[in-house]
Assembly symmetry: C2
Homo-oligomer: 376 residues x 2
């Protein structure tokens, strides 16, 4: 990874160079699977593949040294696509077939959101660790049950907050902030706009109880980043709002949500929405701004609308300089760490308390959200 | 003004070109006075010059056709600097000398914030119009009295929300949004970070009652933009916070504040702070993001940390294209409009209701703000 420490003139010249080498294809932030040189460290299987995030989840565990064994899903069309992508995977006839397989240590899921916690509870009770797509839990009642079973079984219940774990600039920003690059963190602002892509969405996308609401669904990424960057171990929701302000045909869709949060390490604001227009070449112009006592940083996660190629852009301004940090070669540690945690019974990828607190925050925000109605 | 309607490849190539022509000196957004070709349209004077904003205020009225007549201030050092900058101005011996001058139609003030409303009330009672630096009013009690006197006298009480009126990208964005460029507006996010420049600040900068609190002081800009871009004519504070989280030597300073607002035309979030680090070459990396049903826009008001020269940068993404809008030649209409309003008894620069509502929002947010205390 290159990090440039340069003055404004050189900073700008460097930009001109990087722009000259532009490519039309943005990077997604997800790496491709790396061929393994060594025997697999763990075996893992998949239950539920209703969201395309499953591909990134599987690839992360593979990168960490996991061997994909089996998959179970109810939907034949989704299974066909999954097997095409991962041709060595065995198709299980039932969930129990995977739960009863003693050799499988970890189960990964991107089932319909409301089913993820029940699956995870069954997985933990079967003595296995679990990694869910976000949202990993859709109600406070589910969260209470998950916490209880996790405490009793001491299994791992991990939720892949991919906007941090799978975004190189966010990983690098985390390292820099922990090293004191911007002093003590005061606040994070996380913006998570998304494209609806309505024509390709499954029915559950429009059913509030099934995806849990927009704050539960999307904002868990931003809640994770708020806690992580402020170093907060406790936090509360100051205020929250949700609404369907422009999709009257889909009454179960919440198209806007935002929340103010305050933790013991700093404050935060989170906004998520389904208003990204068609001309944006990526799913959304996700941003994270972190201000500290000695500087600030901005991450343009998926695209730089200023014109830089690709995603994972990190800008830092401190007391000495304004610089762009090239993150294209930053390693994504989540897969390695999760596999190590499975083997060593550690919490290096993310503490269990952090994982649950990020979700608790959005579930509380969702529950107490004021309803927005705009005049049209 | 040039506006480029181009695809991504050309967009990026255009950026490379603009970066090659970089200059090290950012534009401030304030124009220099234009020599008048015609007789002055109105005469105006100044009472109170405690903030440097007075220069931009005077220049705006001059651009609109105002002739600066007299200035009154208690501080000889500030007067000396003002007279040096505006050598034809007459120094009045008292405030009354200006208030009693029948030829002066408009009084402009950048007095210490808490004194601005009392001055404005005396100005209106003397039959003159008034234009204040922001914050133009520091308490809800002052606001009530100002509203009463304004209604009784039918004089203009204008507050120069310069982050809109004097920022070319914000002016242009306003025109585009009103023309429907991003559909119906859903939300604004306004970030107003600032440098403290502590060593050069006067005593009142650190006295909470005198500047009114951080939301009153800085966030009135963002409240103005929230109301303007959402087209809201009524609005409420959803939640607000203020704190002194890193300046224990200055207990009267609030160094962080934020607020969620909701109006009849959209929602908004506002954050202001005094944490801009030394390496930023301008006073703060002010941003405005506006999302609408058909697109979004971002304004980088004072600087583009991506490397583009100058300030007033406007980016728009809609259903058809992603584009950078060059705003360098956009005219700043506030001065012209205010002078016309003085002459014609109109409200073209800003309605009186809007001016007061923006201030009411921040005064309410300030009053009900939760106090932030972070562990250090």
């Amino acid at each position: 990874m290159k990090k440039s420490r340069i003055g404004r003139r050189e900073f700008v010249q460097g930009l001109a160079g990087s722009v000259a080498a532009v490519s039309a294809v943005p990077r997604t932030g997800y790496g491709t699977p790396i061929p393994r040189q060594t025997p697999p460290k763990i075996k893992f299987s998949v239950i539920g593949i209703n969201h395309g995030h499953i591909n990134g989840q599987v690839q992360a565990v593979q990168r960490g040294g996991g061997e994909l064994v089996a998959v179970y899903a109810k939907e034949q069309d989704l299974l066909d696509a999954f097997v095409k992508r991962f041709p060595t995977v065995k198709v299980a006839k039932s969930e129990d077939e995977i739960l009863n397989d003693k050799s499988t240590q970890l189960v990964v899921s991107a089932a319909i959101p409301e089913e993820r916690a029940p699956i995870g509870i069954r997985v933990m009770r079967a003595g296995k660790d679990y990694m869910s797509d976000k949202p990993g839990i859709t109600t406070l009642e589910q969260l209470a049950e998950v916490r209880k079973v996790q405490a009793a079984t001491r299994r791992i219940y991990s939720i892949m907050y991919s906007e941090r774990f799978e975004n190189r600039a966010t990983v690098r920003a985390g390292e820099l902030v922990k090293a004191g690059a911007i002093g003590r963190v005061i606040q994070t602002v996380g913006l998570g706009p998304h494209k609806t892509n309505i024509s390709t969405r499954p029915a559950w996308f429009f059913e509030r109880e099934r995806y849990g609401g927009i704050l539960c669904d999307i904002a868990s990424h931003q809640a994770d980043q708020f806690l992580y960057f402020t170093g907060s171990t406790s936090a509360e929701v100051v205020a929250s709002q949700v609404g369907n302000v422009n999709h009257p045909k889909y009454p179960g869709l919440e198209d806007f949500g935002d929340m103010m949060v305050r933790g013991n390490g700093g404050t935060g604001y989170i906004r998520v929405d389904w208003f990204t227009p068609a001309a944006l070449p990526v799913f959304g112009d996700g941003r994270l701004t972190v201000i500290g006592t000695e500087g600030f940083l901005e991450i343009r996660k998926n695209i730089d609308i200023s014109g830089r190629q690709g995603g994972s852009h990190l800008f830092i301004v401190d007391q000495k300089e304004m610089r762009y940090v090239d993150c294209q070669n930053v390693a994504l540690p989540y897969g390695d760490q999760l596999v190590a945690d499975v083997l060593n019974r550690t919490e290096t990828a993310m503490t269990q308390a952090h994982c649950f607190l990020a979700t608790e925050l959005v579930l509380k925000a969702q529950k107490q959200a004021q309803k927005i109605k705009l005049s049209s």
